[in-house]
């Protein structure tokens, strides 16, 4: 089932500005689509609009061309998985999974067959007769998943389903969710604030901020070619520098006199002297004799790499979250830099991203908001 939202508006009476001012997107049939963003970005609000638990104050959305906003939630044929699982504590595992089928008056033999099957798929058949309160978080989430999928919903909505699990289980359940979703082939909207989870699980991601979609694309393109500085720094870490376009034909951007980058993917409609922002991931650099000078503030050993908190001393770096940082993979590490040591680096010109001075728009060829 395809989900299409057109100019959706959400206004809460007690909020000064609309939570979602004007949002349009299309989620393709069978894809796992993630809404990703910091808290308050409207991702859960949008999901709950799809579910019918929030009203919308403007626009409309469609499940396969059928307008849905006036259909009551119980008639939308959706499966929903909640952050706190929302298992019915007074029903045992089997009764929980049966609930939706009973509402649909499914014949007993068919119900049994379908429940048995889904319990097996979700690896909870051995707990079928137990009450849920004695089961672990992971098991409860499997029940919630089974309960949502067994009714063959048109759309599966998942609201931060893994955030209450511990780190190890979370990674295990990610795979489970992904595999189950592909197996059933159901259109899924997945809400999370965990960027790593979003990158690993999704077919496509919509990064949201203040109710506005910042970028929609597949995980790799989102990471490598962010549309604006918000996406660049929300997904992974980026060091940001002000620079100036030196030559439009040569596609050069100057960060300081010793660091002029030739950026092959730079768009053509820039003008010489235009101020831009250059973003560099912590590992996208090489050491150099001259370049961007930086002083090491502190270093942290993280196992696979060494992470340095640094201060850039002779360039216009934007400070994000107090400090800038660079990473060096351990297998390339020559020696650990000492605190207060000053070294110079050159960003990798083919990897860095360039944005307009206000950070709102990418200046790299082919990078658009809607992928």
């Amino acid at each position: 089932m395809e989900i299409r939202a057109e100019h959706v508006v959400k206004i809460y009476e007690d909020a000064p500005t609309p939570t979602i001012p004007d949002l349009s997107l299309t989620i393709k049939d069978g894809e796992l689509f993630t809404l990703l963003g910091p808290s308050g970005c409207g991702k859960t609000t949008l999901l709950r609009i799809f579910a019918g638990f929030n009203t919308l104050e403007g626009g409309e959305f469609y499940f396969d061309d059928r307008p849905m906003s006036s259909v009551p939630p119980q008639k939308r044929n959706i499966g929903m998985v909640f952050q706190n699982y929302a298992i019915f504590p007074h029903l045992n595992v089997r009764e929980n999974v049966e609930f939706g089928l009973k509402m649909r008056k499914t014949p007993a033999d068919e119900m049994k067959r379908r429940v048995d099957e889904i319990l097996k798929t979700c690896k909870i058949e051995e707990y079928a007769d137990r009450l849920p309160d004695r089961l672990s978080g992971g098991q409860q989430q499997r029940i919630a998943l089974a309960r949502a999928i067994v009714i063959n919903p048109g759309v599966l909505l998942m609201d931060e389903p893994l955030s209450n699990l511990d780190a190890k289980l979370r990674i295990e359940m990610r795979t489970t969710v992904r595999e189950l979703q592909k197996q059933v082939g159901i259109t899924t909207v997945y809400v999370t604030h965990d960027q790593e989870e979003a990158l690993s699980i999704s077919d496509r991601i919509a990064v949201m901020k203040l109710g506005v979609i910042q970028q929609i694309n597949n995980p790799m393109d989102i990471y490598l070619r962010p549309y604006n500085t918000f996406v660049a720094s929300f997904i992974g870490f980026s060091n940001l520098f002000y620079g100036t376009v030196e030559s439009v034909e040569g596609k050069t951007v100057k960060l300081n006199d010793d660091c002029i980058l030739t950026i092959p993917e730079l768009v053509d409609d820039v003008v010489a002297g235009q101020r831009v922002i250059v973003s560099m991931r912590p590992n996208e650099f090489t050491y150099a004799e001259k370049g961007l000078g930086m002083r090491v503030i502190s270093s942290t050993f993280l196992g696979q790499n060494m992470c340095y908190k640094v201060e850039f001393i002779d360039s216009e770096a934007l400070e994000l979250e107090d400090e800038n940082e660079i990473d060096e993979p351990m297998n390339y590490l020559q020696r650990r830099l000492a605190d207060n040591e000053v070294v110079h680096i050159i960003p990798m010109a083919d990897k860095v991203n360039v944005f307009t001075e206000d950070g709102e728009q990418s200046l790299i060829k082919g990078v658009t908001r809607n992928g």
Binding site: H7, F53, R76, A86, I87, H90, R147
Partner: protein
Amino acid sequence: MDKARIRVKWKPDFWFWTTLAITLVLILFLVYPLITLFVRAFQSSTGEFTLANFEKFFTHAYYMRGLYNAMFIGVVVTVFSIIIGAPMAYLMAMYRFKGQRMLDILIIIALLSPPFIGAYSWILLLGRNGFISNMLKVVGIKLPSIYGIPGIIFVLILRFYPYVYIYMKGALQKIDASLIEAAESMGCGPVKKLFTVVLPLILPTILAAAIMVFMSAIGDFGTIMVLGEGAQVLSTMVYKEYINEVGGNSNFASAISLIMGIMTLVFLFAQNYVINKRSYTMNALKPIRKSNFSKGMGILAYAAVYAIIIISMIPHVTILVTSFLPVEGKMFRAGFSLASYQTVFSMLGRPIKNTFVYCFIAIVVIVIVSMLVAYASVRKPNALTHFINGVTMVPYILPGAVLGLTLLISFNRDPLVLIGTSTIIIIALIIRRLPYTLRSATAIMYQLSPSVDEAAISLGCGPVRTFFKVTARLMLPGVFSGAILSWVTILNELSASFMLYNSKTITMSVTVYQYVARTEFGTAAALASILTLTTIISLIIFYTMSGDREMSL
């Protein structure tokens, strides 16, 4: 935003109609009677506006005496209830105590028994012809009189200290052990710890309990009717003035009631003001571990706690024992007899039946209304739910006699005459005891995650069906703890029913009072025993069914 159409699509749903219906019922049976009371207080017997009723009250020493008595009794009972209840709660919460569960039940029984049973059995023991007084008279000791103000105070303290105990024990159990340990780690000794950490944390609770005791004490009716012997307080005056007033327009009784109502309101607001300023939400992740007594302290603590509880239980034992004594004329004889019970069952079938029928209907209505209102006010709050929650607090603090009077003066004339019907008694019981269940239902509702409802809805279960199939089912255990309190206090309700009963609608507690007043103690004892036994059985059922759940007040 241009393309966005702003839609307003509110349409009344099930919850709107439900809360609207409940609101209208409350307006009819609570707000309208209160307004009537207010209007009557300012009316002369011919219906003109006057301040004469208040002038009469404030210029006659007799009435001012009643006001003074009520305040004096209220203050003294409150102070002593804290002095007894607070240390008991502290000991029981901080130390291992043998027989704790039984003691808890006994304390609750002391609180929830029929209101004047204490008074009446102390007369049997310490009255002019009392069992103990007579014994001591032989040895030549003369006890102070149990009649009058000192006796009333004594009996009320024994009845109301359990409020302080129950409130405070609950609060102590919510203190996180790590707070105490943190204090200790910073070198805070046991006494200092008590005064710098524990007491400040539970001070709001103590205040809440204090106001509860105070309002119960000044609103008390039965004890003072039985023990007063001429000593009047406001609540008994309301009744007497109502009975005495010629013409039956009850304007002066209304004025006294209004004064009482305003008094309780003032205290309630004062309490809310103090508590809101310094209230802490605590929910112990790690409850305080009880320690063992040192030997000397142990003996002292056990002696004190058991002594108090034994004294509180004396009235109940007395009543049970005397209900099995043979009666000759109005005097008890030694021996064993079921004669009192025979009298009860042959002559008093009606009050027994009335009590159970009224209470059953009332509790069913209370539970259903509470669950609906709690759901609506937590999940779909609107002006109506705010209104309902606000007005239902009024009967929580309003003395029963006043509530009874408001109904009495509102429904004794056309267009709606309900006085003398069982309907009006049941309505009084519902309105008076609804707050307990409503509060516990609201509390449990806040703990239930909305996503459980939403899960049911997303699975195809309509919202109203979800309420009955899932939410109501999950609310029940929490509602139960309030409902048991409503049930037990309905069983033993006296002051409002006393204003409203007639020979057809009389209940057990009113009958007990009548027989006490006629000094037919045997019958009274048998009837009171049945009442107490029902209370105890109800409490036992509650404790067995609810496992470790505490009674919520």
